[in-house]
Amino acid sequence: MSQIAEHIKPCYPLFMEPEYRDVLSRKATECEEKPTQETLEEKFLWTTSQEYKDLNFQREALTINPAKACQPLGSLLCSLGFKGSLPYIHGSQGCVAYFRTYFNRHFKEPIACVSDSMTEDAAVFGGHKNMHAGLQNANSLYKPEMISVSTTCMAEVIGDDLNAFINNAKKDGMIPNDLPTPFAHTPSFVGSHVTGYDSMMEGTLRYFTLNDMAGKAVGSNGKVNIITGFETYLGNFRVLGRMMREMGVDYTLLSDPSEILDTPADGKYRMYAGGTSIEEVKDAPNAIDTLLLQPFGLTKTKKFVEETWSHPCTRLNPPMGLAWTDEFLMRVSELTGKGIPESLELERGRLVDMMGDSHAWLHGKTFSLYGDPDFVEGMCHFLLELGAEPKHVLSHNANKRWGKRLAKALEENPYGRQAQVFVDKDLWHLRSLLFTDKPDFLIGNSYGKFIQRDTFHKGPKHEVPLIRIGFPIFDRHHLHRSTTLGYEGAMTIVTTLVNAVMEKLDRDTIQYGVTDYNYDLVR
C-alpha cells in the first residue's frame, strides 16, 4: 500500500519504498544472473583506470556515446530559419520523426517537417514517385512559401537526384513552377549536423542567387549578412540583431529561426513565424560582406559566397567572450564605416566589470569541455580570458587541422598550456580522461550528466559537475532561450560558470558542524 491520495509519489521516491526495494532486489538476484556486487564494483573501478583508458583509446571501429548527430538535423534547423519554409526530407520517414523529436525536446516547441516516406519499393525503384506525391501533398496541406528539401542516407545511398526529381515534379504540375524549392544533399555518413546546416545554407543561397547575379553589386544595399551556422541559442539571433541595430548597421540574418522556435502560447498554433524572407536572400549578394560566425562549420557556404557573390567573407572568430566580440564589432565597424556606439562600449565595460568581480572564483579552475568545433573554440578562448584553464578540449565532429590549430593557440597562452585537444573522439573517451586526470568542471550538453554520475560513483571527490552549455539540453528548462554570443552572451556564461563554482563549494562544505568554514554568506 504505497500511495496516499494526498501525497502521491512518482518513480522517485516510489521505488525507494521498502516493498519496491524488495521486489527489485529479488528480481536482480533470482532472475537476472547478475554478477556479484563485488565483481561489479571491481569492474567499475577498472573502467576508471589508466589501463582501461589505454584500451579505450585503442578503439578504431566502435563509437560509444558520440557527441554529434547527422547532416539532415542541421539542414532542418537551417530550413526552419527561412520565412514560410517547410522543411522536406527526402528518404525514410523514421529519420524525420527523430529530428522533430530531438528538437521538440530541446526547444519545447513544435517542429514542422515532412518526409516523403520512402520504403522498400523506393529502395528498388528510386524515390521519384515519393517526391512527386510528397511535394504535392505537402503543398496542398501546409501551404508553404517555400519547400526546403534535403535528404536522408537512404536516398543518398540509392543515389536519388534532388534537382532532377524536383524539376520533374514541377514539370508534371505537382507543385507550381514558381514555388521555391531550395535543396541540398545531406548524407548522414559524411560530416555531422554542422555539415548539414552548411550544406542547406549553401543550397538555399545557391538556389535563390546563382542564376540571378546580374545587376548585383557588392555593397550596393549597404547591409551586412550574418550567418550563424548550426546555432541553437535563440538569444544569439536576438543579440546579433540588437548589436547591429545599436551600431546603426543594416543587416540580414541568413536563416533566423528565433521566431519559429519561440512562438507564443496565445491560443493559436503557428506553423510558420518569422524567418529570413526570400527577398532578403535574393538581395543578400548586394551586401557589403557576409560574416560567418562558425568559420569551421560553414566552409561550403564560404566558398559559394566568396566565389559567386564575390564577398570578402572577412575572417572572424566566433564572437564569444570579450576579445572576439570586440573583434566582431570592429570588423563590422570597418566594413560599414559605422562607429561602435557608447551603448555597446558600456555593455562591454559591464562585462569587464563582471569578469573582475568573479575572477577570483574562476582563476585557475580547470574545465573540460566538448561540443561543436566553433563553440568549443569560442568557449576555450573565453575561458582563457577569465584566467580559467581548459583541460580536455574535445570536439567529435572537428578535424585534425582544427585540432592542431587550437592546440597551438592554447599552447601559446599561459592558461592553456595544460590543455589537451581531442578530435574525432567520443564521450566514452572523455569519460576515461575525466577519471584519469580530473578537471574541476565539465562543460557540455545533457549527455554529460552520465559522466557526472559515473565520476560521483567513484566517490564524491572524483565527481566532475556538469555545466550545461551546448546542444542538446534536454534535462533543464528554457536554457536554449539564453545567449552565448556577444558581451551579453559572455555575461550569461560568466554568471553560469561562477555560480557553478559556488554551488559546488556549498555542496562540498554543507556538513553541519564539520565544514563550517567556506560555507560563506558573502562571496
Binding site: 536482480a28 532472475c31 556515446n65 554529434k68 529519420c95 523529436t101 520504403t119 552520465f450
Partner: protein, 483 residues
C-alpha cells in the same frame, strides 16, 4: 455521449479531407472513421498498417525505432549496436524512459549509444570488416555484457552487407549471442515491422539456440511480455502479480535481461500487455512450447481488477484468493483517489493519439476518473488493434489511423477536447492552442502509470494538467471581450 453527433463527425471528416489532392484524399478517407461499437470487424470501416502518404507529416517512425527503440533496446545486459550512420543511435539515446537499474557501462548498457558511425568509405566498401572489429572492441571494454545485437540502419540493407555471416562468426568467437537484426528503417511502413523483426530474431537467435536448463520452474511462474517499464511500469505491475502469489520470472523487455528471456519458455502463462509489439513471440511460445498467453490491461482500477481476475482464473484457488485479496487491499486507495480526483475531472473530454496499444488500453483509466475519450487512433496499429478498440469507444466518436498533423489539428479545433494525450511531436502544437496535453508515450517524464500505484500518479498528473491555471492566460487581458 460523444463530442459530436454522427452526422457532425462524418461532416468533419469530409471537411478535413477536402484539402487533399484526389489520390491522397482517397487514401486518407480509408483511415478515418466514425465509431459504431456494434461493428464487429474493423476491416469493414478502417484501413491500417499501410504506407504513410509522402509529404503529409506522419508521426510514424521506422522499423529501426521498433526494434532498437522498443523491443531490443531495453534488454539491459546486452549491447545494442546502431549499425550505420551516427544519427539514429543519437536521436534514440536514452529518451524513452524504459527504466532499469544496473551498473551502466559495466554490466548494463541501456542509456548508452553504441554506433559504427558509418563514414563514406563504409558505404562504398561495406561495413562488415568494421563490424567484426567492433565486436572485438566491445568485448575488450565490456567483458560483462551478455551479448550483442546489431540494429541495422538504412544503408546496411542497401549496400549488400552480410551481417548474418559476421554476427555468426562473432558469436562463435565471443561465446555469446550476437544477433543480426535487419530492421533497416525503409522496411515496412512504421515501427511495427521492426517489432516483428525483433521478435523473430529473439526467436531465432536466442530461444532456438538453447534455453536455461538449470532454471527450476514453479507452478506459479509467469512472464510479463510487452511491458517496456516506461517510468517503471513493469515494476508497479510486477508487484501486484507477486502480491497475488505468482512468480514473475521474466520481463520483456523493460528492465529485461538475457537470462529472463531464456527461461521464459518454462513459464506457465505469458502475460501480454503490449499486444502489438510482442504478440508474435507470444504466439511462437504457444506453438512451440505450449505456453498460453493472455492479454491484460493494468491501466486504471477497473481494468486492473478485471485483469487480475482473468489472470487468476488460469491458476488454482490460492492465486484466485490472492487476486481478490490484492484487489480488496487496494480498494481503499482507489476510493480515496477517486473521491479526490473524479469531482475535478468528471465529464472532461479526451482525445488520444498514441502508438500501438495505449490508444485503447488507457481508455478505462480515463473513464475511472470520470472522463470520456472522444477520439483515438494509432500510429502503427493493425486491424486486430482496431477490432479491440471499436468496442472500447463510444458511439460516434472519432477513430483515426496514422493521422496527419493537419487532420489532428483540425479535429481538435472542432472537438475542443479538455485534454489531449499523444506524443512530443504533437505536444507543443496543442499547448500553444491552450489545450492541456499529456505525453502518453513517455508519461510526460512522470510515471509509472501501470498498476494501482501507477493509477495514483496518472490521476495526479491528469488533474494537474487539466486543472492547472496556466491554460487561462492565453489571451492578454486587454484583448479579452467584456462580459
Amino acid at each position: 455521449m460523444s463530442a459530436l453527433t454522427r452526422a457532425e463527425a462524418e461532416g468533419l471528416i469530409q471537411d478535413v479531407l477536402e484539402v487533399y489532392p484526389e489520390e491522397a484524399r482517397k487514401d486518407r478517407k480509408k483511415h478515418l472513421m466514425v465509431n459504431d461499437p456494434a461493428i464487429e470487424q474493423s476491416k469493414k470501416c478502417i484501413t491500417s498498417n499501410r504506407k504513410s502518404l509522402p509529404g503529409v507529416m506522419t508521426a510514424r517512425g521506422c522499423a529501426y525505432a521498433g526494434s532498437k527503440g522498443v523491443v531490443w533496446g531495453p534488454v539491459k545486459d546486452m549491447i545494442h549496436l546502431s549499425h550505420g550512420p551516427v544519427g539514429c543511435g543519437q536521436y534514440s539515446r536514452a529518451g524513452r524512459r524504459n527504466y532499469y537499474v544496473g551498473y551502466t557501462g559495466v554490466n548494463t548498457f541501456g542509456t548508452m549509444n553504441f554506433t559504427s558511425d558509418f563514414q563514406e568509405k563504409d558505404v562504398v566498401f561495406g561495413g562488415d570488416k568494421k563490424l567484426a572489429k567492433i565486436f572485438a572492441e566491445m568485448e575488450m571494454l565490456f567483458p560483462l555484457s551478455k551479448g550483442i545485437t546489431v540494429q541495422s540502419e538504412c544503408p546496411v540493407g542497401l549496400i549488400g552487407d552480410d551481417i548474418d555471416a559476421v554476427t555468426q562468426k562473432g558469436s562463435a568467437t565471443l561465446g555469446k549471442p550476437v544477433v543480426p537484426v535487419r530492421c533497416e528503417g525503409f522496411r515496412g511502413v512504421s515501427q511495427s515491422l521492426g517489432h516483428h523483426i525483433a521478435n523473430d530474431t529473439i526467436r531465432d537467435h536466442i530461444l532456438e539456440k538453447g534455453l536455461d536448463d538449470d532454471f527450476v520452474s514453479s507452478p506459479y511462474d509467469v512472464a510479463i511480455i510487452g511491458d517496456y517499464n516506461i517510468g517503471g511500469d513493469a515494476w508497479s505491475s510486477r508487484i501486484l502479480l507477486e502480491e497475488m502469489g505468482l512468480r514473475v520470472v521474466a520481463q520483456w523487455s523493460g528492465d529485461g535481461t538475457l537470462s529472463e528471456i531464456k527461461r521464459t519458455p518454462k513459464v506457465k502463462l505469458n502475460l501480454l500487455h503490449c499486444y502489438r509489439s510482442m504478440n508474435y513471440i507470444s504466439r511462437h511460445m504457444e506453438a512451440k512450447f505450449g505456453i498460453p498467453w493472455l492479454e491484460y490491461n493494468f491501466f486504471g482500477p477497473t481494468k486492473i481488477a478485471e485483469s487480475l481476475r482473468a489472470i487468476a482464473s488460469r491458476f488454482d484457488d490460492r492465486i484466485k484468493e490472492g487476486a481478490e485479496r490484492v484487489i480488496a487491499s487496494y480498494q481503499p486507495m482507489v476510493d480515496a483517489l477517486n473521491a479526490k480526483y473524479v469531482p475535478r475531472l468528471q465529464g472532461k473530454k479526451v482525445m488520444l493519439y498514441v502508438g500501438g496499444l495505449r490508444p485503447r488500453h488507457v481508455i478505462g483509466a480515463y473513464e475511472d476518473l470520470g472522463m470520456e475519450v472522444v477520439g483515438t487512433g494509432y500510429e502503427f496499429g493493425h486491424n486486430d488493434d482496431y477490432d479491440r478498440t471499436i468496442q472500447e469507444m463510444g458511439d460516434a466518436t472519432l477513430i483515426y489511423d496514422d493521422v496527419t498533423e493537419f487532420e489532428l489539428e483540425r479535429f481538435v479545433a472542432k472537438i475542443k477536447p479538455d485534454l489531449i494525450g499523444a506524443g512530443i511531436k504533437e505536444k507543443y502544437v496543442y499547448q500553444k492552442m491552450g489545450i492541456p496535453f499529456r505525453q502518453m508515450h513517455s508519461w510526460d517524464y512522470s510515471g509509472p502509470y501501470h498498476g494501482y500505484d501507477g493509477y495514483a500518479i496518472f490521476a495526479r498528473d491528469i488533474d494537474m494538467t487539466v486543472n492547472n491555471p496556466c491554460w487561462k492566460n492565453m489571451q492578454a487581458p486587454w484583448k479579452k471581450e467584456l462580459p
